[in-house]
C-alpha cells in the first residue's frame, strides 16, 4: 500500500514531518487533584491525578519516597470495533508500567515520603499514538496537581514507511507493519526517558527516525508550556492579592 503518495502527502493529507493538531485542556475532572485532556488529531485521552495521599496498602509504603501508581485503560467505545476489554490484559498492563516509569523519572518523589500518587489515564478515542498522548496528558495532570517535577516529560512517535520517516503515526500507518518508535524526553535536561520500537530498522535510518520523534516531542513541549503558563496566569489573576 502507498502511505506517501508521489506528491509527498500521507493518507490523512499531512506532510511526512507534520504533526497532527494538538489540543489540551486542564481541569476536566472536578474531584481529582489534577486532571487534563489531551488530543493529538483523533486520538483523545483523559488523565486524572490523585495525591500525594496516604498509602492505601501499608506494606507498599516507603519511608523515603512517594509511591507512584498508574492505571491505563481504553474505553470500550475508543476503537472502531466495540469490544469489551478486560482490565488487566497484557497490553494495558505493559503501557501502565511504561507510563509509570516515565513519570516516576520526572517526579521528585523524595519530597513526598510515605505517600502515594495515583495516575489514571483513559483513552477515549484511539487513532494511533495513544502511548504518547497518555504521557503528555499525565504530565499536564501532574503539573496541575502541583506535584514537584524535575521537568515536563513529553512524548511523540515516529515511523518509517515507503522509505520515508513519518512523524506522529495514525492508526492506519501504525498498523502497516513498519517500525514505530515512541520516544519520551525531558526537554530541558535533554534526556531520553522512554524509547520503544517494534520491528527493526537499520542503524542510520533509526537515528533519523528518532531525531524526528525528538523534534516532535519538542513541539509538544512548547504547546504544553503555553497551555500551562496560560492556566497558571489565569489562576493567579483570579485569586487576586
Amino acid at each position: 500500500m502507498e502511505y506517501v503518495n508521489p506528491e509527498g502527502l500521507r493518507l490523512d493529507g499531512r506532510r511526512p514531518m507534520e504533526m497532527r493538531q494538538l489540543r489540551a485542556e486542564i481541569g476536566v475532572v472536578s474531584r481529582a487533584d489534577g486532571s487534563a485532556a489531551f488530543e493529538m488529531g483523533n486520538t483523545k485521552v483523559i488523565a486524572a491525578v490523585y495525591g500525594p495521599r496516604e498509602v492505601q496498602n501499608r506494606s507498599q509504603q516507603m519511608n523515603d519516597q512517594a509511591l507512584v501508581r498508574c492505571e491505563y485503560s481504553m474505553a470500550n467505545f475508543s476503537t472502531g470495533d466495540r469490544r469489551r476489554k478486560t482490565k488487566g490484559d497484557r497490553r494495558s498492563t505493559e503501557i501502565s508500567l511504561v507510563i509509570r516509569q516515565t513519570m516516576e523519572a520526572c517526579i521528585l518523589t523524595h519530597l513526598m515520603p510515605r505517600s502515594q500518587i495515583d495516575i489514571y489515564v483513559q483513552v477515549l478515542q484511539a487513532d494511533g499514538g495513544t502511548r504518547s498522548a497518555c504521557i503528555n496528558a499525565a504530565t499536564l495532570a501532574l503539573a496541575d496537581a502541583g506535584i514537584p517535577m524535575r521537568d515536563l516529560v513529553t512524548s511523540c512517535s515516529a515511523g518509517y514507511l515507503n522509505s520515508t520517516p513519518l512523524l506522529d503515526l495514525n492508526y492506519l500507518e501504525d498498523s502497516a507493519g513498519g517500525a514505530d518508535v515512541t520516544v519520551g524526553i525531558l526537554p530541558k535536561m535533554d534526556k531520553v526517558t522512554l524509547l520503544q520500537m517494534d520491528a527493526k530498522l537499520p542503524m542510520d535510518i533509526f537515528e533519523n527516525v528518532m531525531q524526528l520523534a525528538v523534534e516532535g516531542c519538542k513541539a509538544v513541549e512548547s504547546y504544553i508550556r503555553e497551555i500551562l503558563l496560560e492556566n497558571a496566569k489565569m489562576l493567579e489573576i483570579r485569586r487576586g492579592a
Binding site: 496516604e54 503558563l229 483570579r238 487576586g240
Partner: protein, 325 residues
C-alpha cells in the same frame, strides 16, 4: 472552567469575560511576569540566593519544580504554588474528618499527603479536668469522636517519624456539629489572625481551615472551661452525668431560617471556589448580601446568572480597593 458545568447564555458569557478581563487589567498593573511553570528558569543573582520551596538547582540555573508565582524575600527565592494539596505549618487552624479510631489516637483526613494524627493526650477531655489519660479514657474514645466526625484542631508539628500531629487544647476546638463542610483548594484560603468567625446577623459560625476545608454551622456558644471548672468542682461525678444527659436529650434543633443561612453561605463559598476567587469573610458576607438583595432562592445561587454577578461584583470590589491604594 473547573467545577462549573453551567450553560451560560451568550450575554452571560460576554459579561463574565468582561469581568475577568477587568480583573486581569487590575492585576497586570500590580505584578509583572512572575508566573512560572515547571522547569522554567528563575533568574537569580549569582549564588547569593537561598533556594526555597518549589525550586531546584540544575547546573548553574535555578529552575521551578511547580507551577506558581516566584516570591522573593530578601535572599530567599521560592515558588508559591497554586493548585496543590495542603502544606501544613505549625499553628495552622484546620478542619478535618476522622477516618479511623486507633489506639490512643484518631486519624484525620486533612487534604495533606498523609493522614494527620490527633493523640488522645493532646486534647482536652470533655469534662475539662487536667489529668493523665487512663485505659478507661482510651476505651471511651468513641464517646468523644467517632469515624466521619468533623473536627477543628490546630497543627502541632511533625513528629520525628515524619507524621503530622494535631492538638485541640481549647474549648474552641473539637467536634463540629449541625453544619456543612466544604472542600476548596487550599490556595484560596489565606492565613490570617482570625479563622473563627461568628456571623451574628445570621447566627452562623464560619471556620476557614487553612487546609481548604471550610465549616459553616449553627452558632454554638463557647463555654469558658475555667468558669465551668470552678462551678463543677465540688461534684465531678454529677457533672459527668449531667453533660451526658444534656447530649442525649438535645431537644433543640436548628431553626429553618438558620439552616437556610448556612446553605446560603455555603453556596456563596462554592461559587467563589468555582470561579477560583480568594475566599475571605468580607467577600462571603458581601455575596450573601447580594443574593438576599436580589431575592434569590438558595438553590438559585448556583445558577449561571449568579456566577456572572459574583464575578462582576468581585471585579468592582478589586477595582475600588486598587484605586484606594
Amino acid at each position: 472552567m473547573r467545577g462549573i458545568q453551567l450553560s451560560f447564555s451568550n450575554t452571560q458569557k460576554l459579561r463574565l469575560e468582561k469581568a475577568l478581563a477587568q480583573l486581569e487589567s487590575i492585576s497586570s498593573k500590580v505584578n509583572s511576569n512572575a508566573t512560572v511553570i515547571v522547569a522554567d528558569t528563575i533568574p537569580v543573582d549569582e549564588d547569593a540566593a537561598l533556594k526555597g520551596h518549589g525550586t531546584l538547582e540544575m547546573g548553574k540555573n535555578v529552575i521551578a519544580t511547580v507551577c506558581g508565582v516566584v516570591e522573593r524575600v530578601n535572599k530567599l527565592v521560592y515558588v508559591r504554588s497554586l493548585r496543590a494539596r495542603y502544606k501544613p505549618e505549625i499553628g495552622d487552624i484546620i478542619v478535618g474528618r476522622v477516618i479511623e479510631v486507633a489506639p490512643k489516637r484518631w486519624r484525620l483526613e486533612i487534604n495533606f499527603s498523609q493522614d494527620a494524627v490527633l493523640m488522645l493526650s493532646s486534647m482536652n477531655l470533655p469534662d475539662g479536668i487536667q489529668r493523665r489519660r487512663t485505659a478507661v479514657d482510651e476505651l471511651n474514645m468513641r464517646s468523644i469522636f467517632v469515624e466521619s466526625d468533623v473536627i477543628c484542631a490546630e497543627v502541632r508539628g511533625f513528629q520525628h517519624d515524619g507524621s503530622l500531629h494535631l492538638q485541640a487544647r481549647s474549648q474552641k476546638y473539637g467536634k463540629l456539629e449541625r453544619g456543612k463542610l466544604l472542600k476548596i483548594p487550599p490556595y484560596l484560603v489565606k492565613r490570617r489572625k482570625q479563622h473563627f468567625h461568628h456571623l451574628d446577623q445570621y447566627g452562623v459560625d464560619l471556620i476557614f481551615g487553612c487546609n481548604g476545608f471550610i465549616w459553616v454551622g449553627e452558632h454554638v456558644d463557647v463555654k469558658d472551661a475555667m468558669v465551668e471548672d470552678q462551678v463543677n468542682k465540688p461534684d465531678p461525678q454529677n457533672t459527668n452525668s449531667a453533660s451526658l444527659l444534656g447530649s442525649s436529650e438535645e431537644p433543640t434543633y436548628t431553626p429553618l431560617e438558620t439552616r437556610q443561612y448556612i446553605c446560603r453561605i455555603a453556596n456563596a463559598i462554592t461559587v467563589f471556589s468555582a470561579l477560583s476567587f480568594m475566599v475571605n469573610l468580607e467577600a462571603v458576607i458581601e455575596t450573601v448580601t447580594l443574593s438576599l438583595s436580589l431575592n434569590l432562592g438558595v438553590h438559585e445561587m448556583l445558577e449561571a446568572e449568579f456566577h456572572v454577578q459574583v464575578a462582576e461584583q468581585e471585579a468592582e470590589r478589586r477595582c475600588t480597593s486598587s484605586r484606594r491604594k
